[in-house]
């Protein structure tokens, strides 16, 4: 993955909706244009991050899967 995150948030083991709540706080702590790497193990995270970025206007730059982990790169846009 070529995206270099400015901050990493590990939500492994957390159930819905905690990954989204923690992602919101982490993204809010970034500067505009910076990228958060968020790691989750909840399979629902994929659709949740899609919906959350669409709803909030932040950008899902990339995503990948490593074993049982779902990894998202989210750029703060506003």
């Amino acid at each position: 993955m070529s995206v270099t995150p400015d901050q990493t948030l590990d939500c492994s083991g957390l159930a819905c909706p905690m990954p989204i709540l923690k992602t919101k706080k982490a993204v809010d702590s970034l500067q505009i244009g910076q990228v958060l790497k968020m790691i989750a193990t909840d399979p629902g995270s994929t659709s949740d991050i899609d919906a959350w970025t669409e709803k909030t206007g932040h950008q899902l730059v990339a995503s990948e899967k490593e074993g049982d982990k779902f990894i998202f790169f989210i750029k703060r846009t506003k």
Binding site: L14, A15, C16, P17, M18, I20, L21, T23, K24, A51, W52, K55, T56
Partner: protein, 121 residues
């Protein structure tokens, strides 16, 4: 018009899943920049009684207390049905967690009609 979600909770600690899911939706909405108001009627108002939610756990979800704390931290309020509170002999001045407001029907009507969507649990 700004989006506003009203969530009505009518189940208390006797049904952990129905008590928890409204807070899952409420906190997710807050995190999605959607304004939220929660109303508590019937046994749902029990969730605002101090200590009542501390030991409510639904399988597959975070502890209810954790969700309520997150909801309050994000500025959420709990509107409690006045007659439901009175009939259960609770004291609005001392018995409820912070963020609780005991209200009557006209307030609920105002809150619900101002919302863009209302969810009832």
């Amino acid at each position: 018009m700004a989006e506003k979600l009203a969530i009505v909770c009518t189940h208390g600690p006797e049904d952990p899943e129905r008590a928890t899911i409204p807070f899952v939706l409420a906190t997710a909405a807050q995190a999605s920049d959607v304004e939220v108001v929660m109303g508590f009627q019937v046994d749902g108002m029990m969730l605002a009684v101090k200590g009542c939610a501390d030991h409510v756990f639904a399988a597959g979800f975070p502890p209810l207390k954790e969700l309520i704390d997150a909801y309050l931290e994000a500025g959420g309020e709990l509107y409690l049905c006045g007659p439901c509170v009175s009939s259960r002999k609770y004291d609005p001045a001392t018995d409820f967690i912070k963020g609780s407001k005991v209200v009557n029907a006209a307030t609920f009507v105002k809150v619900f009609t101002e919302a863009t969507n209302v969810l009832n649990y």
